[in-house]
Symmetry: none
Amino acid sequence: MNASTDITASPSQSRKSDRTRQTILDAAAKLFREQGYRATTLRQIAGRAKIKAGSIYYYFDSKDQILDEVLELGIRVIHEAVEKAVADLPEKTSGRMRIETAVATHLHTVLQYNDYASANIQNIRHVSLAARNRNKDLRRAYAEYWHDLFDVAKRAGEIGKNVDLSIARLFLLGALNSTIDWYDPKQGSTKRLAENFCNMFFEGSEP
Amino acid sequence: MNASTDITASPSQSRKSDRTRQTILDAAAKLFREQGYRATTLRQIAGRAKIKAGSIYYYFDSKDQILDEVLELGIRVIHEAVEKAVADLPEKTSGRMRIETAVATHLHTVLQYNDYASANIQNIRHVSLAARNRNKDLRRAYAEYWHDLFDVAKRAGEIGKNVDLSIARLFLLGALNSTIDWYDPKQGSTKRLAENFCNMFFEGSEP
Amino acid sequence: MNASTDITASPSQSRKSDRTRQTILDAAAKLFREQGYRATTLRQIAGRAKIKAGSIYYYFDSKDQILDEVLELGIRVIHEAVEKAVADLPEKTSGRMRIETAVATHLHTVLQYNDYASANIQNIRHVSLAARNRNKDLRRAYAEYWHDLFDVAKRAGEIGKNVDLSIARLFLLGALNSTIDWYDPKQGSTKRLAENFCNMFFEGSEP
Amino acid sequence: MNASTDITASPSQSRKSDRTRQTILDAAAKLFREQGYRATTLRQIAGRAKIKAGSIYYYFDSKDQILDEVLELGIRVIHEAVEKAVADLPEKTSGRMRIETAVATHLHTVLQYNDYASANIQNIRHVSLAARNRNKDLRRAYAEYWHDLFDVAKRAGEIGKNVDLSIARLFLLGALNSTIDWYDPKQGSTKRLAENFCNMFFEGSEP
DNA sequence: AATGAATGAGCGTTCATTCAT
DNA sequence: TATGAATGAACGCTCATTCAT
C-alpha cells in the first residue's frame, strides 16, 4: 500500500498519488527534524511538497497521523538498514565486528541519510503519549535486535560476563543518538566516528 | 520534591519581586521539561506561578526570554553542581575518581533534582537558532570543564594516550544525557547507574 | 423505509442518468432532514448515493441547487398527495370532511412517508433568501389550495362567517407542521392525531 | 429594533465585562435567528459586537457554548414574560382569560421583542444532542406551566372534559411558534393575532 | 458518466502579546 | 505590581468546487 517502506522514497514506478503522499512525508520528516513537530505547520509542509495545505487532508487524516508515519518510518529505516548490513556480513563474522557494523550503519543512517531517522530521535520525546505508544513496539523490536547482537558477543566471550547488557545497550545507543546534536561531517566520516565509538565501547578509555 | 530552588534561588530572602520572577522560572522549567517549549503556554506557566499571564511581562520580555533563562540556568545548575562536587574531593583524588564523581553528579542533577537541567537537555534541540546561540558559551564552558577533567586523567596516565578526548567526552555525555529518555528510579539509583557507566567508559565491555 | 421515491421518482424506469440524479436527491433529502442543510456535506450525500462527490456536479450545478430541488419536491410531494386524496373523495363529500382528509394526508406525508416533505419544513427557515424566494410560488399555490378548501367549507356554512380564513389556515398548518418536532409514532397514529387536530380546529376546546 | 436587552441584559450598573458578554450574546442571538447556527460565523458575531473574533474566547469556551446560552435565554425569556403577565392578572381571572394572556405574551415576546426567543425556536432542531439535552429541562418546565394553565381551565369547566390537554397544548403552541415564519406587523398587532388564535382555539371554526 | 486529485476560501480556535487601569 | 480585557496572526482543519482524465 504505502510504498515508502521500501526504505523511503520509491522510484518513479509508483502512481502519482503515492508519490504525492511520499512527498508530503518527506517534507514533513525534514521539517520535523529541523524544527520539531509543534513548530512545523501544515502550510510549511505543503509548501515544501509544492501543494496547498488543504490537499494534505486528501492523504492524511491529521497532522498527528503524519507524525505517526514519520516516526514509524524513522525507526524502520534505521532498523532495516542495520539489520541488512549485519546480515550481509560473512557468517562467521565475530560478534564485535557485527556490533561495529551495526554502529556504523546506525550512525550513517541517522547522520547522513535520513530525515525520518533524525526526526524520530528528535521528536519522540515531545510527542503525545498516544503517538509514543503506537511507536513503542517498533522501538522495542529494535532494542531487542541490539540485545541479541550483544548477547551473541557475550556468549562468544567478546563481552565481559558481568556486563549488564541492557545498560550497555542504552549506554551505546544513547551515545550514538546524541551525535545528531554535534556531528559535523567536516570533522570526519561517520565510519571513522563509528570506529572510535566502538573502540571506546569495547576497550574503554583506560590505557 | 522539586528542589530546583535549592540551587537557583537567590541565597538571601530577596525582595518579593525577585521571588516572583523565580517562581515563574521554576514553573516554566517544570512545564518545559514535561511538555516541551512549544506545547507550554504562558497561561500554564502563569497558572503554576499563581499569577496571571499578563503579569509575566512585568518580569520577562517574551516567552522566548523565559526559555533563554531556563536554558541558561539548566547548564549552570549542572555545571555548578558538578564543579562543586569535584572541588569538594580531597586534593589528591585520582583523575578517574574525579570523573566518576562528575558523572554521578551530572546524572543525579539531571535525573533527580532539577527541572532546569532536564528542560535544558530536552528542549535545546527544538529551540530557535538564536536561543541556541545565546546558550553556546555556557555549553562550551561546561564542555571545557569536562575536557580539563579528562585531560588531567590522561596526563596522569589514567586514560589511554591515543584516546581522542573530544570524542570521548561527547560519547560519555551523550550517553549520560540520553538517560532522561529511559531512566527509571525503580530500577536502581543514579549512583549505581553512574558506577555502571563509568566502568563501561573506563574499562570497556571486553572481558 | 424511505418511500420518497414512491411519489417523486419518474413513473417509467427512466434512463440510468435520471435514476442517479434521483438517488442523489433522495440522499440529500434524507440528510437535510436529519442534519439540516449546512451540516450536510456533499461527501455525505455522495456516500449515501454510492457515488463520489465530484460526480454530483455532473447532475447539479451546486449544493444550493440540490437544496432548491429538494425544497421544491418537498412542497410538491405534500401538495400532490393532499390534492389527490381530496380529489379521490366522493363528489358530495362535505367541506369539513375534505379538510379532515387534507389534514390527515398532510400529516401522514410529512411524518410518515417523506424525507422531502420533512426536509422542506425543517430547512426552509434557515435557507438563503434566494432559495426561499425560488420556492415561493409553490408555497403560495399550496396555500391557495388550502384557502379554497376553507372557502368551500365556509360557503357551505361549515365554517363561521366571521372566521378569517387566512389566519385560520396559517393557524392550522402551523400546528400541523410543528408536529415534526414532537410526533412520536409510539403515541398514536397520524390518523388519530389528524382527527384530534380537526376536532380541535372545528369545534374548539370549549365544552 | 433589537429590544432583547429589555429583558435579558442587566442595566448599566454592571461591569464592562458583563456588558461585553451580553453584547456577544445579543449579536449571536440575532444572527442565529436570521441565519441559523451553522451559517453564523464567530467573525460575524464579533463584527456585530464590535470586537474581534478571538476576544469571544475570553467570554465563552466555544461557539457551542454561546448557542447553549442563547437557547437557554430563549426559553427563559418567554417563560418569564408569560408567567409574569399571567401572575399580574387579578386573582379571580378566568382560566380562559389567563390562557389568552399567555398566548398574547408568548406571541408578543417571540415576534416583537426577542431574538433569543426566535433563535431558540428556530435552532433547537439543528443543534447537537448535548445542547438539546441541556435545554430539555427548561422546555419541559415551560410545557408544564402551560399544562397547568390548561388544567385549571379544564377543572373550571372552560375546556371540554374530553379534550386531551397535551395535544391541545402542542396544537396551540405549534400554531403560535409558526407565526415566526409569516407574521407581518403591517397586517395587524400581535395582540389582535392573539385574540384571533384564542377564539379559534376555544370556540373552533364552526359557526 | 464518473472520478481522483487538488484547491482556496474560510472556519473555529489558540496564544503570545499589549496596555489602560 | 499586577491584571482584566482585548487583539491579531496564525493554526489545524473542512468543504464546495474544479478539472483533467
